[in-house]
Symmetry: C2
Subunit: 270 residues, 2 copies
């Protein structure tokens, strides 16, 4: 059995001083440096593998402070508070003496209490009826995901669309090659939605996520049930103004269960 | 001119070691300790008043780690990274040697670039046509806000509703007494939505916000235009499961401009 590219890309070596040493992976290369989702997944793994962790991730915020370059980097994890119901973690990612990302993670004890899903997944044909999108040759990390389009597409253009497109899209998404879903892969999949500015305008511009928050609704049991089946993802945006736009998203699993939800704040230049 | 209760509640005294000393305020008392929104606003003020801050808040995550008690507490602010376009801050709030909250804040340079609001505010009568809600005698902090109900209400009950209510509500909200909107008050108003579990079930239970993320779409100029006029707020929830539920929200200002959006993750016990 070969190791999945995501497990290679997110592997950690503990150092003597409590930090973890990591290395970027060409399998998840972005325009420059690695795909932000795999950076988030590596930070997630640093908590998941921490010996003091007793409960599962529920809320995760990653802030991208500086461009991460290809090569080694270190992660520093601090357990800020461990209570009866929650554990609070703070993380820093450092490369060549520069803080490239900060993160906070809350893990929580899950019990059999009141359960109710008020939200509904969008209407979509089953994944097997949706065509797999060709993603090769553009960005390396896109090849690590299988996308099946349901609604909304980027119409690339040399000039911004005179009539702006909708920022909303819906697709089925999973790891490629297939990999059973866990908190590490879900943390990365939460970042697989292409930035909304491209949907709306259709033109390239300097842009990047500055902050990403993901809430994990899925319990460990639900992740096991989901396995490597595609997730139904929806992303949108409410406002583009003064160099920043939001990007809320939801990820739905088998039987229409909401497995994760969250949002990004994206910077853009022009 | 008297000082507004929010400015008293969020006032900071710099200590010699770079920390700020603060004190909770009875004007914003919750069931026990202070209203979380005013804690968020105090953390916001610690960045706003920091001498190294050059640009305005755009993304703010507060994690509530432990119950804050009435009395003094300290805030420690660290500028993690200051670049051409963004400043990244990490914050810790400590009381009696316990970390009670952590936070990350991103401030960003705002320019006159592509601007587009894809989202639309909900339909609502103007605030002057909506009745001001009676909030006295329940929780002290509720008296510090003027709510005008538009849609959705909590129907308190001794037993959970057999048919669950919608988690969604819409209202007009502003500081009481009136206060011109700034990033400090907006950080607090983002937390003025009552927890969705109460809307859905109608029964009290141990519950509390564990993490809150707010994106500030409003520029300084837009805040000045808004002044002390009511904001149209919408909050909802997608899933209640395994002791946690989400709570996305939007806050709309004059001319239907989106001034802030965000989400909370809420813990509940039963």
């Amino acid at each position: 059995m070969t190791t999945h590219p995501l497990d290679i890309a997110t592997s950690l070596s503990p150092l003597d001083d409590g930090r973890f040493r990591c290395c970027t992976s060409q399998a998840y290369a972005n325009i420059a440096g690695p795909f932000g989702g795999v950076t988030a997944a590596t930070l997630m793994r640093a908590v998941i593998e921490h010996p003091e962790r007793t409960v599962d991730p529920v809320a995760f915020t990653v802030n991208f402070c500086a461009a991460l370059k290809d090569g080694d980097f270190d992660i520093f994890v601090k357990l800020q508070r461990s209570g009866k119901y929650t554990q609070h973690w703070s993380l820093e990612l450092e490369q060549n003496g520069i803080i490239c990302a900060t993160a906070t993670m809350i893990c929580g004890a899950r019990g059999s209490v009141f359960s109710h899903q008020s939200g509904e997944p969008p209407q979509a044909p089953p994944p097997e009826e949706c065509e797999v999108k060709e993603t090769g040759g553009f960005l390396k990390w896109l090849e690590r995901y299988e996308y099946r389009q349901v609604e909304g597409t980027i119409r690339f253009s040399s000039e911004p669309h005179p009539e702006l497109n909708s920022p909303r899209n819906i697709h089925w998404v999973r790891d490629h090659p297939e990999r059973p879903l866990d908190y590490v892969s879900l943390a990365a999949i939460a970042d697989t939605f292409i930035l909304r500015l491209l949907y709306v305008r259709g033109t390239m511009a300097p842009m990047g996520t500055v902050s990403m928050t993901t809430y994990f609704h899925a319990t460990g049991e639900e992740l096991a049930v989901q396995g490597s089946a595609p997730l139904l993802g929806v992303a949108s945006a409410e406002r583009f103004h003064g160099n920043f736009h939001d990007q809320p998203m939801t990820l739905w699993g088998k039987d229409g269960l909401l497995l994760a939800s969250g949002s990004q704040l994206v910077w853009y230049k022009e």
